[in-house]
Subunit: 337 residues, 2 copies
Amino acid sequence: MTVTIHDVAKRAGVGSITVSRVINNSGYASEETRQRVLEAVKEMGYVPNRLASSLRSNRTNVLALVMTDITNPFFTVAARGVEDVANKAGYTVIFCNTDEDKEKERKYVEILMQNRVDGIVLVPSSSDSESVETLQQNGKPVVVIDRRITEKQVDQVRCDSVAGAVQLTQLLITLGHRRIALLNGPQNVSTASDRLVGFNRALAAAGIDPSKQVVISGAFTRESGREMTRQVLEMSPRPTALFAANNFIALGALSALESAGVRVPEDLAMVTFDDLPESLVVSPFLTVAAQPVYEMAARAAEMLVNRLAGKGSESFEEIVFPTQLIIRKSSGTSIQS
Amino acid sequence: MTVTIHDVAKRAGVGSITVSRVINNSGYASEETRQRVLEAVKEMGYVPNRLASSLRSNRTNVLALVMTDITNPFFTVAARGVEDVANKAGYTVIFCNTDEDKEKERKYVEILMQNRVDGIVLVPSSSDSESVETLQQNGKPVVVIDRRITEKQVDQVRCDSVAGAVQLTQLLITLGHRRIALLNGPQNVSTASDRLVGFNRALAAAGIDPSKQVVISGAFTRESGREMTRQVLEMSPRPTALFAANNFIALGALSALESAGVRVPEDLAMVTFDDLPESLVVSPFLTVAAQPVYEMAARAAEMLVNRLAGKGSESFEEIVFPTQLIIRKSSGTSIQS
DNA sequence: CTGTTAGCGCTTTCAA
DNA sequence: TTGAAAGCGCTAACAG
């Protein structure tokens, strides 16, 4: 029924291992033999069976990127970063969405291990994710990206969320703001907790009591951003500035503010983490701490590829990229307080 | 080294086939045996090898979505539609980006066949894509989505681009526009050619000579949208309305218009195909012909899953969804011509 | 430069 | 309800 390597071998009048060598460009083969084999392959419409090949060789040449939500432009850019590097190194990439759900993450990791992917780039759904442990126990190289994981020996690539939050907060303070609301992500995600740390640090350094500021913890979603913003708008005195912990929260905030007729930055200043990709924005307006997502993802993929090639460093690497402060209109100008 | 099914079998004191049955919930197994097997599985940290399983059973339980660009929100929504349905049916989904490149598409299809995925949802990079033929020759079920393919017997799911373009064009005509510029995608993609057909049809029906209208063919990208818009702005007499053939072209147009200080809709009216996902838009502004992307993708996945379950219809199905005209501000009000 | 042998880990087939 | 034997298609290891 299906054409196998043996059929091709017979047709070409060679041994099947020779066909294997020609197909995979491994080992020697005389030019003449090579031609005959390739011809037979074409004539018979032979499609190598990677399942068999991988079973035997113990390599699939497949990597996986486990992330929270491909719907977020942040991650779709990350996906391209991983894919580009991986493809160049001869790997195919599989993408998985965990929706910030620990159980979904566990399931995907299980499936990936069953399918014997060679390595994994992981955006852990929460700080106490057990995926790294599971994977390492099974001898699968992992690189954790974007978020920290508690007490784990593992390769990591991420941005300096603390420093980025400090920059954004300092900017607002410099502009005269003394009541700033932080619309944050879930506490159990390191990017959220780190941004809170940076927020507090900048406030304290400026002699402002952090405990008197408004900090709301929600989800990294637009809907949550709207909801948190509504809460802020009902406060009195109302904060004069908003610090959104990621792009989706910022979009939700903008939408809620517009509904309420609150102008940015005239009535309320705003800053946020994560820039939106140029392709999706008509005219950039938000003051942001931008993360070099593509580079981070590409770097993570490189580390993985290197480990698989036996070229990785002995110890685990931890790479922290700086954020870039981009000041635009949403943060406004100095205010009188 | 690795724990195999035999190791588990030995530990549980049963035959390996029994372990297989318990793991896959196939065939009979007494409750006692089942418990002993599951215990052994857990104790030994056994991870079934799907490569071996698939090699033997000739099923991978993996589907693939081959699309042009996951960076486009249109496709990220489509991805979720396929994934949700597929997961529910017990399949994992692999995503591939072709970047509208025929060669890349060919390569991915090749890899997917080598990996013996069970079926494929395909957004063909161009109307003359040969992927369908290749896949069908290898007995792989395919469902073509979003775009038509010339002269092919294959399951298809898409939107009625002609009717959508007619609606958008009619709206502009009704508002008094007589000089409309169509910023289109590449000619060899059916959604582009169909939208041109609808555009012309609506004009002709209104007694306007289509051949006197401005039609530019570019790519479905933001950069191309900018470039085409610049061309339009230099024309004299300048068109009074813009018809963008997809969301990225529209975003590029908006950006170019803003740079040029041209206001929408006051100075120039605008309509476009494809709505942007709610999560990415602060306040919807564009008048669009919206496509039910998620539903289309889900339907395509269903067809595929059904075929694989032997429940598909005898003949090939062709499902065409209607577009939904959503009138917002960008199309403006009636003008005097 | 080429081939033989064996076996990767699982499930199908048949038998009990 | 359970098991033994065979083999899916390929490549590692060795030999020539």
